[in-house]
Symmetry: C2
Subunit: 333 residues, 2 copies
């Protein structure tokens, strides 16, 4: 019989549809593998030699010589970098001027590389760049929240092949973030001041069945109520509300965990399209005891359809425990 | 400059990305048109002659002779029709047995027809079937909420070409429904007992700029903070919490409004993939003063990407007012 499970952090209900469940390897992508693309594409704005096609860079590593990571403002930014923050209420209509910062992190000079196939130190350089730009974008007085995310492949919403991620600094705290904060505060208040995320991670590490990778500072596991097949959370072990407070040894450890997880997906599901995002506290709440930052990785191997749009419930056709077992079994360095 | 608008019913924020906005006709689909498919497919389980390939029908219209609409249990149901409803709490883990009803409404015997191209009376027959099955599914004592929805085309999450919609009766009230109820109750309590939906519809009909179709009983308009291009709401004018309370003359009017809207999308965007859903109150709240049922139609012309997953905010690359003007200008019977 199918089972309906609740995602304790978002309160969403998920139908684990055992009757229509597929074997893990049946979720394999049939798109072209990333390595089969050319290493350099003359028309790609993110390939070396085409730097003039992007707006002037806001960051590069190393500072001189050939860059390994490069950050530029998004040429088609969702928000305007210049302008005043103005909130307006006109009857039921609420608007805010669309100001904020929208940057692109070009993760490597190589067009056909991907985080899954980089060295640990290269992934670490990307994460260090995230941290650097996270602080820089958050320093803008108009910005309340920074969302860090990656769209890998067309099903994940990108048409640009060259490996890149993005940051958007918004002048508001998104409703999804507010809901998570409220749920976590509620838990904190109704227990002995416990962190919902710390308890969840402890439970998962103890139970082991949904854990994919455990390291000194992180645990990567499939949530009990995973919204979709292979949906994975990476939780830091040390309690901290904000990604901005990550320590150097944690960053280095995260690079290795993330690279290994993405490599397991690459090998196990034939380079699936995926999104990842770093869920971190808003500017004003970056030290609170009740919230805990984490990463969410969502392979886009199934589509969001009318039932999900209509009900907010999800139907997951993969058993979380079976998905975790499958990914644990994929050997990577 | 872009504008950030709040969806007053869900509290979600949407970036109306004027800088990356496309012209309405640039959202046209380049898939095959529905009419270019064969009228009958020997291997299709929903085509006439293949009735034995589906589970026994729960409804048909007309009762005898050749069917025009047919309802069958979903062969790959997300929930089990048989079994007891059992709720379990084990530490942080909350589960419910996956019992409920999942039915498929086969909308027409013709494989290559679509609601957009049917006659009003045929669309009305489909809606009458929805109503009939809505009541039948809700009558199951284990069911708290019925979600009615349609997935049209692969981007909307279906691989079955034959025109069909679905109903799922769940043993829980989904979190999205609870959130809408809470927001609406809040509004009711903080005004002179007003209905948030009635006020919104009044405002839109008065302002006109986002209205696509207005009829005796319904208004179809693009929400002020539409989540994606051409996202459309159809609001009934008479206050009513539940689709289950719709009157015969309203049903007939809705059929015409829905058919005309879908035809405008078909002609204006070259048969785009889309979802629609009927958002109605749960069983226990079907007469409340503060909630109001409605339909939501979501053309799947853009992808949900990492920013949307990470923040819950949406980026809409079409100006709602321009989308509405474009659809108003598409002439249909």
């Amino acid at each position: 019989m199918p089972e309906i499970r609740q995602n304790i952090i978002t309160r969403q209900w998920v139908i684990i549809a055992t009757e229509r469940a597929r074997r893990p390897d049946q979720f394999c992508s049939d798109d072209q593998l990333r390595v089969d693309l050319p290493a350099r594409v003359p028309t790609c704005p993110f390939c070396p030699g085409n730097e003039a096609q992007t707006p002037p860079e806001t960051f590069r590593d190393p500072k001189k010589g050939k860059w390994k990571v490069r950050v530029v403002p998004n040429k088609f930014a969702a928000l305007a970098a210049e302008g005043d923050l103005v909130r307006m209420h006109l009857g039921l209509k609420r608007t805010i001027t669309g100001v904020g910062l929208h940057e692109v992190v070009v993760e490597t000079p190589e067009h056909n590389l991907t985080l899954a196939q980089m060295e640990d130190e290269d992934v670490e350089r990307v994460l260090r760049t995230f941290l650097e730009r996270y602080h820089a974008v958050l320093a803008d007085p108009r910005v309340e929240q920074v969302t860090l995310f990656k769209n890998h492949g067309p099903a994940a919403g990108t048409s640009i092949e060259h490996p890149h991620s993005q940051l958007i600094g918004t002048p508001i705290i998104p409703s999804e973030v507010i809901e998570r904060l409220e749920t976590a505060l509620d838990f904190f208040n109704n227990t002995a001041g416990d962190c919902l995320f710390c308890v969840t991670r402890n439970d998962e590490v103890e139970e082991r069945v949904r854990v994919i990778i455990e390291s000194a500072h992180f645990a990567a596991f499939i949530p009990f109520a995973a919204l979709s097949p292979f949906h994975t959370w990476i939780f830091p072990k040390r309690h901290s509300a904000s990604f901005g407070n990550i320590q150097p040894e944690e960053l280095s450890d995260l690079a290795r965990v993330l690279r290994r997880l993405l490599r397991k997906l690459y090998d196990g599901l034939a380079d699936p399209d995926y999104n990842f995002t770093i869920r971190t506290a808003p500017k004003e709440s970056n030290r609170v005891k009740y919230y805990h930052w984490y990463m969410s990785v969502v392979p886009r191997v199934t589509k969001i359809a009318g039932f999900e749009l209509g009900s907010g419930m999800f139907i997951n056709t993969a058993l979380p425990e079976a998905s975790a077992e499958y990914l644990r079994g994929i050997e990577v360095e």
